[in-house]
Amino acid sequence: MVFRIIARLDIKSPHLVKGIHLEGLRVLGDPGIFAQHYFNEGVDELHYQDIVASLYGRSSILDLVRSTAERVFIPLMVGGGIRNLGDIQSVLRAGADKVCINTAAVENPSFITESAKAFGSQCITVAIETLMDSKGRRRVFTNNGRQPTGLDAFDWVRRVVDYGAGEIILTSVDNEGTKRGLDLEFVSTVARSFPVPVIAHGGVGCIEHIADAARSGASAAAIASAFHYKMITVKKVKNGLKERDIHVRIENG
């Protein structure tokens, strides 16, 4: 199976931003330009995450989605502040292919089922953010790692799959932005336990981290800081994975 490389862009409209544990956001530039660049380099998918929408209950990202969809002809997933079927409809009509939901699913898990029924489960990705508690258990958070839910992470993953999610993004909030690697233990547990594709996210610093995710059973890796700060490039990642016998898409010419 072909392992996917996804460029993840945190958006505080109209900027691409990044932070560590989402304290102290840094503005990195025009997301459209970064997206175009990653597309040219052969990235497999884009993920725009609107990181303020869930706090203010608004989605101001549609213009960016529209303009990206006019230039960049690869799959685009959009998340942040998606609360109801109308929000999903707007985002898909603007040109996105998939939506990523988190808070709305935690508050009302049957929203996952409703959305999958209305739009097809392949459009519905559920994001699960995890933080270790003081007893070493992974707990689920929302609002980009700020809001605790009290839920046990594995248990929540199981429920999300049961409710009909087409794909899961696992974000290790502990590791995100640190470049020390993904939470491979959890990625591997989830990938082995459920039939739904898993995107690993949070902590990629080098190609070996990504290769490890593939070997752990993830279907894709979402990379933010390492790409945006140019620590690694999409091309180098793909070539590096190919050298490690991991099946990836490399276009000729």
């Binding site: 199976m1 072909v2 996917r4 597309f39 497999d44 529209r66 969809a69 006019e70 002809f73 690869i74 799959p75 898909l92 009509r93 603007a94 040109g95 996105a96 292919d97 998939k98 029924k117 209305a118 739009f119 097809g120 489960s121 392949q122 459009c123 087409g166 794909e167 039939p195 739904v196 594709p197 279907s219 894709a220 898409r249 276009e251």
Partner: protein, 216 residues
């Protein structure tokens, strides 16, 4: 050798499902005039029609039927019109689909739509795959015949097409140990399981070839 002339006018069916904006964008990038048809009477003189779609088979058929597109599309094909179904749109061309029970499709192509086998793989099939020739052939078929074997295209589906005659398969892809139908074609009726509008430059080139494919 004369240059193939590219048709400029394309009608895209808007039946409440699917990623219209992406499909429209792709054709606009190719300098096509894009007409969005929301009711069957808007199909009018359209020669080339695209049926996009993302979602469940039964919802797709309900969306088409309620707008009169089921009858109009059958008429279009019977009178020699060109149709390109994409993803769910390709599946709806078939006689029946097995998602959430057995449902009738448009019946334009004989065959049915079945669940992707799940042994050893994740479902839905989400991601890129290389287009491979149909069984016992060395090149891709139909409108894909000038595309290199191994061209990368993007798939996101839980079901795939089983035409009643394997002659109609114009491309396949492999997923784990399974071979899936990637494209079907019978005369001027074409179905792509993958999303050409999401398959980068290859996808755009393929849509351009679709627009160039002769009507006669």
């Amino acid at each position: 050798m004369s240059e193939l002339k590219m048709d400029k006018r394309i009608t895209i069916i808007d039946y409440g499902l699917g990623n219209l904006h992406s499909v429209s964008n792709a054709f606009r990038t190719l300098d096509c005039e894009v007409i969005l048809a929301q009711t069957a009477c808007e199909l009018g003189e359209s020669v080339r029609i695209v049926l996009p779609g993302v979602g469940a088979f039964s919802d797709g058929m309900a969306g088409l039927t309620s707008r009169g597109f089921d009858v109009a599309l059958r008429n279009h094909c019977h009178s020699g019109g060109v149709i390109l179904g994409i993803c769910l749109g390709a599946q709806l061309l078939m006689e029946a689909g097995e998602e959430f029970g057995l449902h009738a499709g448009l019946g334009i192509l004989p065959g049915k739509v079945v669940r992707i086998p799940s042994e050893g793989v994740k479902v839905p099939h989400t991601g890129w795959a290389q287009l491979l020739p149909p069984m016992n052939q060395t090149t891709l078929g139909g409108v894909l015949s000038t595309s290199p074997v191994g061209s990368w295209s993007y798939f996101i589906h839980s079901f795939h097409i089983l035409p009643s005659s394997s002659d109609m398969v114009s491309a396949t892809c492999s997923y784990g140990s399974h071979i899936l139908t990637a494209a079907v074609q019978s005369g001027r009726t074409i179905g792509f399981q993958f999303h050409p509008e999401k398959s980068g430059q290859f996808g755009l080139d393929l849509l351009k070839r679709f627009m160039e494919s002769p009507i006669d």
